[in-house]
């Protein structure tokens, strides 16, 4: 065993702090246009990032060699875990996740530093300095509050406690890294913003650079949140995918502001307006990533996702104060340079639509943020803890979400500066007709297929507000379908008009015209494809209005009906492996009288945590709906089992929408301008594309395997995805 490993690891953390400070100092000094110092700063950056990588490698070695002298290793691993889960345990706990955050930050810092070579020379030193400050913060955090190399007072144990069984699945491998990639990626635009403010280089060229980095971070925020939804859906067993848990909310807050930024930056590029607004959005996005981390780690709000409460909160408070104070001071200092040269001349314009869109997104972000921390606010104000749960969020987010969906469709129809009535009418004709036809069809035929257009629900509040929300909630399904059709029509029309314009200019066939159109304006058409993806996601969200659920206590041979499905309980069976005992309850499924296969919800009882068995969901997926089965209790003597069945309509469209969103985003990230950029960006894109592709390839393949299993193949011993990673 490496005797001095814990001390070496701690020494590495000190080295990271010292080297980050050195690089920060050299970078700041290079700000006066000294190329030799800039070179030294760049090399110092690479060296500091390599130190972080070394720390990760050392911790990984400690896990793989079961060095239980280290408290973190003993807490989150055990000898029976495979190497895959041992490495996954790196980010399974607080201390390691902070090191993992720092590692991802070092990756981004390295990529930015390479990308900046020969570009934005006056901004470079300050970008590097800002990133080093952030890295120093995390080094301080690890050294003084959450050291992953800290040893146990009691010395090395014989075996560790192991990873929480809920975390021993495929999604745990990919969800935290992808979400952290999104969080950490927001540091880069923030660093550019600080550099632009510090140097006074506030023209539009740095915005174009920042937009790609923010888009990249946004991509991973989207992937990370989606994977979180998938994890909740398939692992937690409550039948849904988003419970408005504080940690979930904290993860989506920066997504809203990042979305607002990638839209409003176009206004600055085009019209040289909203400079202060864009800077505020970038800084707010970064602040929210730190705030979200603070929420999950400081124990401020109780959550099933949260790390154990610790003393780490005060460090975050100081850092958040710094993040607010420094940018605010710089913005005030540079206000004369930030004054816009233009103004919004008409609300009925692209700029107007984007500004309204920004306000709605920011409003949604504020609403969710305040509601999330409302228990604390109410405690401070009234000495009474008032919690808000999923029903509150579900009611209020309906009008907000539908507003966003509508704006998403309207904005592409509007021209810059102002839209004439004639132009707007011509552009909106086809989408409006499509939306109306879709809504009418839904209202008239929806009930026949189990999707009525109007779904009555209960009032949430008394009074006018309650009635308004109730009515909105009731008509939300048909309005959603109409708006989705509207968005599809708008995007289709944009592609059509662009192709027609190209054919007029270049006399190309339709196929070539479409291809060249997308090639020449990847950013625009990638954005339209993202809109399609989001529309499909809204369709998936709308499916919640038609959810069916039932609970049943069944003996072998008993039958139950739910929706189109007829379910017959075949009986329980048990299997064992090295880690756990698995109790399956086989259920035969028929749909409309036709047998479609067998599903096997299960309970897993891990040897390391017998008192906390996990629920393994069984799913039968189709494009129309998901049959979702959970077994709560199985009596080994009588073989009676208590089940909960859900029919969740249109959920598959949610995942399909995310896949399309990812494709659109990757298309937008493709460089349009300079071959010189392609070096680093090609690698970054390739990495992002490969990561996304692999994640969703495995996901879709496993979905297909799971569906195939439910259609009459031999039942797998456990849920399909878990079988893939059990090896």
């Amino acid at each position: 065993m490496w005797q001095s490993l814990p001390e070496f690891g701690t020494a590495l953390l000190y080295s990271i702090l010292v080297c980050a400070a050195y690089t920060f100092a050299v970078a700041l000094t290079a700000g006066g246009g000294k190329p030799r110092l800039l070179r030294a700063a760049r090399l110092g950056t690479y060296g500091t990032c390599a130190l972080v990588m070394l720390a990760v490698l050392v911790l990984a070695y400690a896990f793989v060699t079961h060095d239980f002298r280290i408290r973190y290793v003993a807490r989150y691993s055990e000898r029976s875990m495979t190497n895959t889960y041992l490495l996954t345990a790196l980010w399974g706990g607080q201390d390691g996740s902070l090191l993992w955050w720092t590692f991802l930050l070092s990756g981004y810092t390295t990529a930015v530093t390479i990308w900046l070579k020969g570009k934005y020379r006056s901004l470079q030193p300050y970008v590097i300095a800002t990133l080093m400050v952030i890295m120093s913060f995390f080094a301080v955090l690890m050294l003084f509050a959450a050291n992953p190399f800290e040893t146990s007072f009691a010395g090395a144990r014989l075996d560790g406690e192991g990873l929480n069984p809920l975390l021993r699945n495929f999604y745990m491998i990919i969800h935290p890294p992808s979400l952290y990639m999104g969080f950490v990626g927001c540091s880069v635009p923030f660093a550019f913003a600080i550099a632009a403010l510090a140097t006074g280089r506030l023209d539009n060229e740095w915005i174009a650079a920042t937009r790609k980095w923010m888009l990249f971070a946004w991509l991973f925020l989207s992937i990370g949140n989606c994977l979180g939804m998938l994890w909740a859906y398939e692992e937690l067993g409550w039948g849904g995918y988003w419970a408005w848990d504080p940690v979930e909310n904290a993860a989506c807050l920066p997504w809203f502001t990042a979305t607002a930024y990638v839209h409003s930056t176009m206004i600055q590029e085009r019209r040289n307006m909203l400079k202060v607004w864009n800077l505020v959005l970038i800084c707010t996005t970064f602040f929210l990533t730190i705030f979200g981390t603070f929420l999950t780690r400081a124990g401020l709000i109780a959550s099933v996702h949260a790390f154990a409460k610790s003393d780490i909160g005060i460090y975050f408070v100081y850092f958040m104060a710094l993040i607010i104070a420094v940018p605010a001071g710089l913005i005030v200092w540079r206000l004369p340079l930030l004054r816009s040269r233009g103004r919004i001349e008409s609300v009925v314009s692209r700029e107007g639509a984007f500004v309204v869109n920004n306000w709605v997104l920011l409003g949604a972000c504020t609403f969710i943020g305040v509601a999330t921390i409302f228990p604390r606010i109410s405690e401070w104000l009234w000495d009474e803890t008032v919690t808000v749960g999923p029903p509150f969020f579900n009611r209020w987010m309906v009008p907000i979400g539908l507003s966003l969906l509508a704006l998403m469709g309207v904005a592409p129809l509007l021209a810059w500066r102002k839209s004439s009535t004639a132009n707007l009418a011509a552009a909106a004709r086809f989408p409006l007709i499509s939306a109306t036809v879709a809504a009418v069809l839904h209202l008239s035929l929806g009930s026949r297929f189990g999707f009525p257009g109007v779904v009555p629900n209960d009032a949430f509040y008394d009074g006018v507000l309650g009635i308004v929300l109730q009515k909105l909630g009731s008509v939300a399904p048909v309005v959603t379908v109409g708006l989705v059709a509207f968005n599809f029509a708008v995007v289709g029309q944009e592609f059509y008009r662009g192709a027609v314009a190209r054919r007029r200019q270049h006399a190309e066939p339709w196929g070539s015209a479409l291809l060249r159109l997308v090639q020449k304006s990847r950013r625009r058409y990638g954005g339209y494809i993202v809109h399609i993806g989001i529309s499909l996601m809204f369709l998936g969200f709308a499916g919640r209005a038609w959810t069916l659920e039932t609970e049943a206590n069944m003996s072998p041979g008993d039958k139950i009906e739910i929706g189109d499905y007829s379910l017959t309980y075949a009986g329980p069976r048990m299997e064992l492996d090295a880690e756990k005992r698995m109790v399956f309850a086989d259920v035969d499924v028929s749909q409309d009288g036709v047998a479609v296969g067998r599903i096997s919800p299960a309970r897993f009882i891990y040897k390391s945590s017998r008192s906390s068995p996990t629920t393994e969901v069984a799913l039968h997926r189709t494009l129309k709906n998901d049959l979702y089965a959970v077994v709560a209790i199985v009596n080994p003597t009588t073989k009676r089992a208590t089940f909960r069945f859900h029919v969740n309509p249109l959920v598959s469209w949610l995942w399909i929408g995310v896949s399309i969103l990812i494709c659109g985003c990757l298309l937008s990230l493709w460089p349009e301008v300079s071959l010189q950029e392609m070096g680093v960006w090609a690698t970054v894109r390739m990495t992002a594309g490969v990561l996304s592709g692999v994640m969703f390839g495995i996901l879709l393949a496993s979905m297909a395997a799971g569906s195939g299993a439910a259609r009459g193949a031999d039942p797998p011993p456990r849920a399909p995805l878990a079988a893939v990673v059990a090896q």
Partner: protein
């Protein structure tokens, strides 16, 4: 480019030389440090200082993952992690050492970094942003997103801005252009001084110097140096780079190229037509290192780079 070596350096090195080499790699990874160590330690002719560090880098890039994979396969995953950690540690030491050397001024900037210093200026970056906006505007017009009045107004604004930026860029290059011309004049004078005799091909200090120095006289004149005129073009080829055949264009003192028989002005070291090195008094200036060698050598004896 091919490197001609008199003997493979590795075969001549003793174990102590290899130790010194490893030491050099670890503590003096910069070009200058390595070159200095080579000169003091080895007895073989110094290879190109531009090439060996790159070869070492290439060897490291190949060796590192190979050794990690070998460790992993033969000794286990944990040892593979340790091997990775070891290589990362070497990298860290190398990076910080070079960083400190840069800080203290011990290393010169390499060619790539020097070129990087001439990276896009703020005006250049703004120009790109404006041109991008113009491109978007044209597209919006083609798909009918913008009415004609607004299009013309916006287009005029962007074009005005682009012109302003182009003028600013030209203006910012003025000083650099003058400086380049001064340096060129000095170098030409130095080279002219080095060629001691008048020859049959009409070299003279008087009238030919007028022809030979046509370019410096033009360049030192009041007119701004046109960007598209070749710096050593004569009167006949003042309008552009695509001059007629060199034999017709060169009227002043000139030399004949051994490869293509074209004539190029005396001040040039490379043939205008085919780019081959031209000998001055039987001496050729190496294109890689700053040394001169006899015309009868096919390659430079110092660095081995061909003509």
């Amino acid at each position: 480019m091919r490197t001609h070596r008199r003997g493979h350096p590795w075969r001549r090195w003793s174990p102590s030389d290899l130790v010194a080499l490893v030491y050099a790699v670890l503590i003096s990874p910069s070009t200058n440090g390595y070159a200095r160590l080579l000169r003091t330690v080895h007895r073989v002719p110094e290879p190109s200082v531009n090439q060996l560090p790159k070869q070492l880098q290439l060897a490291t890039i190949v060796l590192a993952p190979l050794s990690i994979v070998l460790c992993w396969l033969s000794l286990g995953f944990a040892q593979g992690l340790l091997a990775s950690a070891a290589w990362v540690l070497v990298l860290i030491i190398s990076l910080f050492w070079t960083s400190l050397q840069s800080l203290t001024g011990d290393t010169a900037l390499n060619l790539e970094e020097a070129i990087g210093l001439g990276g896009p200026s703020p005006e250049e970056e703004q120009k790109r942003a404006v041109l991008r906006a113009l491109k978007d505007l044209e597209f919006e017009r083609s798909v009918g997103k913008i009415n004609e009045t607004d299009y013309h107004q916006l287009s005029a604004n962007y074009r005005r801005e682009a012109k302003r930026l182009l003028k600013a860029l030209d203006h910012s290059l003025e000083d650099l252009r003058s400086k380049a011309e001064e340096l060129l004049t000095e170098e030409l004078s130095r080279q002219a001084d080095r060629s001691p005799r008048d020859s049959d091909d009409g070299r003279s200090a008087g009238s030919d110097s007028a022809g030979d120095l046509t370019h410096p006289q033009e360049l030192s004149g009041d007119a701004p140096a046109p960007a598209d005129s070749a710096p050593v073009a004569t009167d006949d080829s003042a309008e552009g780079q695509e001059s007629p055949s060199p034999a017709e264009a060169v009227t002043g003192p000139s030399r004949q190229c051994d490869h293509c028989d074209a004539r190029s002005p005396l001040a040039l070291d490379e043939c205008e037509s085919c780019g081959a090195q031209l000998a001055i008094d039987g001496q050729i200036l190496c294109r890689s290192c700053p040394s001169r060698y006899n015309d009868d050598h096919a390659v430079c004896p110092v660095c081995g780079v061909g003509r």
